[in-house]
């Protein structure tokens, strides 16, 4: 028997366990394993290893499920309480954007007029106009950062890898 046949047999033993074999491959392997004791032993070792892996048990910590369920319910309550506030925030942001767009031509003229009155360079009052537009977004970012800061202050036991 050539080395190539043994190599092929070992490859097929692995393939059978990983992704399965075509009928022709299966027939060839079965025939080879009947004739070759060393490849047959290799197949048995592979099966033993997989059986051992499959049957290896891990003991569950006491009350793991109930402790997790409790934590999840607490978090769900927290999220439910936060939801209306978040909705209000988005609504306020949306309204302020709509108002911002509607009032843009007037605000532009106001900034222009103010620039002329004070003698400020055009670039300065244009930047001022741009900043006026970012106010709602800045407000939303500040609120979210405050919320995240509160969330990161949760007890140590609630964080992974303590």
């Amino acid at each position: 028997m050539s080395d190539n046949m043994h190599t092929r047999a070992l490859q097929l033993v692995a393939k059978d366990r990983v992704e399965g074999l075509a009928q022709s491959e299966n027939d060839w392997l079965a025939k080879h394993l009947q004739e070759c004791e060393s490849c047959n032993e290799h197949a048995r070792q592979t099966d033993r290893a997989l059986r051992a892996l499959h049957s290896a048990a891990v003991s569950l910590p006491a009350d793991l499920a109930s402790r997790t369920q409790f934590r999840v319910r607490l978090r769900a309550m927290e999220l439910r309480e936060r939801e209306p506030k978040r909705r209000m925030l988005w609504l306020a942001c949306g309204l302020s954007w709509v108002f911002g767009i509607a009032s843009a031509p007037y605000v532009w003229r106001l900034f222009e007029w103010f620039g002329e009155r004070t003698g400020a360079p055009k670039l300065v009052w244009e930047i001022g106009f741009g900043l006026w537009w970012t106010i709602p977004a800045l407000f939303a970012v500040i609120v979210m950062l405050l919320e995240n800061a509160q969330h990161s202050g949760e007890p140590e036991w609630m964080k992974p890898g303590r």
């Binding site: 692995a14 393939k15 366990r17 990983v18 992704e19 070792q45 592979t46 033993r48 290893a49 997989l50 051992a52 892996l53 499959h54 049957s55 290896a56 048990a57 891990v58 003991s59 569950l60 910590p61 793991l64 499920a65 402790r67 997790t68 369920q69 934590r71 999840v72 319910r73 978090r75 769900a76 999220l79 439910r80 609630m158 964080k159 992974p160 890898g161 303590r162």
Partner: protein, 196 residues
Amino acid sequence: MPAVTFSTLMQYEAKSIARGLQRRDPDLLDRLIEQYQYRLFRYLTYITGDKARAEDFFQETWIRVLERGHQYDGKSKFEAWLFAIARHLVIDWQRSKKAQSLDALTDPTQESPLQVPNEDEPSPLHQVLAQENAENVHSSLKKIPAIYREVLVLRFQEELQIEEMAGVLSIPVSTVKSRLYRGLDALRGALQAGAA
């Protein structure tokens, strides 16, 4: 056709889970935690190599399931999505610790040996044999690089399909297969060395 019926049932179950997660249904979450506790904890124990850490990640995974439940569309198996969340948490934590690979999570000095569950009250001899097997498998798995350990656990313990594993691990199917072949080889070698 029984296979079609089973597959339809699985799809229906996945869709029903997806709808429940959208609503953040607390009863559904309780049921899922009960149902998947063993498989998720075992997966986390093998990929972190530490039961205490696995417990933390277990709880954190379910918090993420609650928070990001709306992202599960019910098109794939729920467990594949669950394992992907757990895996990302472990990787994020590992990155925050500036480790190089999943192997870095294993600290042999902090490890407690895996034990046999006593739900069915097996005989003392069976307990000893099973514990020896679990310890042998666990110590053998620790000798295998984490990327191979992970695919072996997903394929031969969790019995995920190769395509599902590719989704969980975010790698191509061909890479999953090559890792499985190498992992299988490494596991056989490690178990033989452990038995010798």
